[in-house]
Subunit: 411 residues, 2 copies
Amino acid sequence: MIKTKATGPIPSGYHATDGELALGGQKVSALVAEHGSPLFVYSSNLLDNRMAQLRTAMPDRLDLHYAMKANPFPPLLRHMVGLADGIDIASGGELRMALEAGAAPEHISFAGPGKRDEELEKAIQAGVTINIESPGECERALKIGARLDRKTRLAVRVNPDFDLKGSGMKMGGGAKPFGMDIELVAPVVKRILDAGADWRGFHIFAGSQALSADAIIETQAQTLELAARLATEIGKSPAHVNLGGGFGIPYFPGDEQLDIAKVGEALAGQFERLPEILASTQFAIELGRYLVGEAGVYLTRIVDRKQSQGHTFLVTDGGLHHQLAASGNFGTVVRRNYPAAIASRFEEETAETVSIVGCLCTPLDRLSDSAAMPRADVGDIVAIFCAGAYGATASPASFLGQGPAKELLVD
Amino acid sequence: MIKTKATGPIPSGYHATDGELALGGQKVSALVAEHGSPLFVYSSNLLDNRMAQLRTAMPDRLDLHYAMKANPFPPLLRHMVGLADGIDIASGGELRMALEAGAAPEHISFAGPGKRDEELEKAIQAGVTINIESPGECERALKIGARLDRKTRLAVRVNPDFDLKGSGMKMGGGAKPFGMDIELVAPVVKRILDAGADWRGFHIFAGSQALSADAIIETQAQTLELAARLATEIGKSPAHVNLGGGFGIPYFPGDEQLDIAKVGEALAGQFERLPEILASTQFAIELGRYLVGEAGVYLTRIVDRKQSQGHTFLVTDGGLHHQLAASGNFGTVVRRNYPAAIASRFEEETAETVSIVGCLCTPLDRLSDSAAMPRADVGDIVAIFCAGAYGATASPASFLGQGPAKELLVD
């Protein structure tokens, strides 16, 4: 008897038509027939809904940025440029994609610990804000700005002396390659001001993928306090403070949705009690996964159904080359099941315990381990949910000669 | 005081010219100046040496196959087609690449649990051997072969009832998506024979990345015993038996080279004592990592040197988007340091403890953690060794808009 392992919660907003999962009004069988498999499908309606919920929950004063590293698929990125107040980029490649998607340079900011001179040059030429990560990078940027004779827009990324509790990835609270330690910030800002560059403020990112409203509330309060302390030390109000992100989505059994109403209320309260030095500062949060993660589904076709020592395997034409994180091989120590379903039998009752694997010749390539599913066979379509963020581009698409999956933005 | 962590052993065959690591007679600074960074450099001399050592150690009767999933870079693949007795592929994409590299179809075999109908069709058209992974796949292959009116070359992949002890990846000894359980093998072979297809024999792969000669010797003995048992049950000698691979390379502190002389001697002894039913069988092993892993180096340039809370970070223009396994995020539970060096100061004494990180905005992007290195600065070149296998194609090259690294085969 195979012990069944739970799968993560299927995000809300997914429904069946004639018993099949339907996306953008089309059944998965029709989508796969037209576009092939494996296939990433992103829903613009779900993107709109998520952003609308967030606008309602958050104070009006807060800008909502999209961190495009989560999903740079051009049609989705164009859609997000229309919805978000800013686009946060992490490389010269992302700068090019953001500009091509129609983002205005004054609404783009560039963070990343290893910016090459060519990337700094392109960013300065374009007029985007650069989040400076070290004194050395500051000097390189100022030198390039002087050579180009361009006003250089520089914010300072701070390595905070606290972390986001319960976050999937800690970005602060210790020795980090990101940003600069607190004692370096004031001297670097003074250097920027003395050089005549445009000091844009602070970027303070303490962690990502947290589901606890209380943890995010505490971190945002600490972030505002730190920004005020640094501004006071510098003796100048920052035009802008990026409060980081940290809003997680449920992936695994037992995970619950983040209470954004609670986060928004607390932040509105913080904004009412701001110290004078931050009174005219513009604030933003940058979200990637939270904005797009649940709006995407990965569809893959079953090509074999087989038994081994009493265990049933559904072998698909997809795998970790498109879904590295879902396979448990990216930033996780213990493998747990993402939300998954037999999309072509979305309303059928579970009937058996199966492992859903990819087509790669490696035991790492497991999409769902010992999960309860309806009876499925060759030709059925599997859906892995939460595939809108860190899926296609965060996976080794060329592994074993497979190549990338097709991606599609639907209504 | 930062505690220093050891790095893995640098493979033999790497030397300095004027104090710099040199590859194919060129200093790393010259290679990076000409080809840019990050850069994968593979040495054809080291590939030749490795294959020559293996030919000396192994019995003449044993064919040596290259499992191209380890590294399909076209110039390297062409080189390996010239050195190896066969090419093992894992997808339709690899089939195309192997044929383009000049591999003869009769020396190609195709394994993988999720072969699509289109892939089976292309493989049958080309005349390569297909390692059948399930009864269902057998029926699909026979049907396609009949439709194409082609003699179909089918071997049967067996899920062995033992595993390779101490292997990095177990491919047998339990419920597996690979191959078929032992009791299914004889019926499927009979089905192949009855259908008039060309039954090529067995593919038995118990695990990979083992450094213990004794473990490999034991597994090879079990594999031969299993092949004989199955052949006896079927009542027919297999033309060919693929004994799998499993030869590991040292990656981590304390790892030692596999004693191939000991493995070869034991296998020669086994071949002398073969049962009658395997007397005329041709044997092969398939190796990927062992043939190419130590012949490759990943070079990346330092773009920033920074301090955080007493820790020194060297930030490079490379990262886990090219070196996922070296970052500790692919198939490993505990992160350990791959062999690494400051290639531009290859002969200098270690002078400090540093962490070498990539340019990605994620704490996962660490190439070497708290390692002892010579004093290096912006512009110096870092080498990560053991980059010849499961590097470029086993990493998410598109992550954060970075794109793939350039690859180069030198003398």
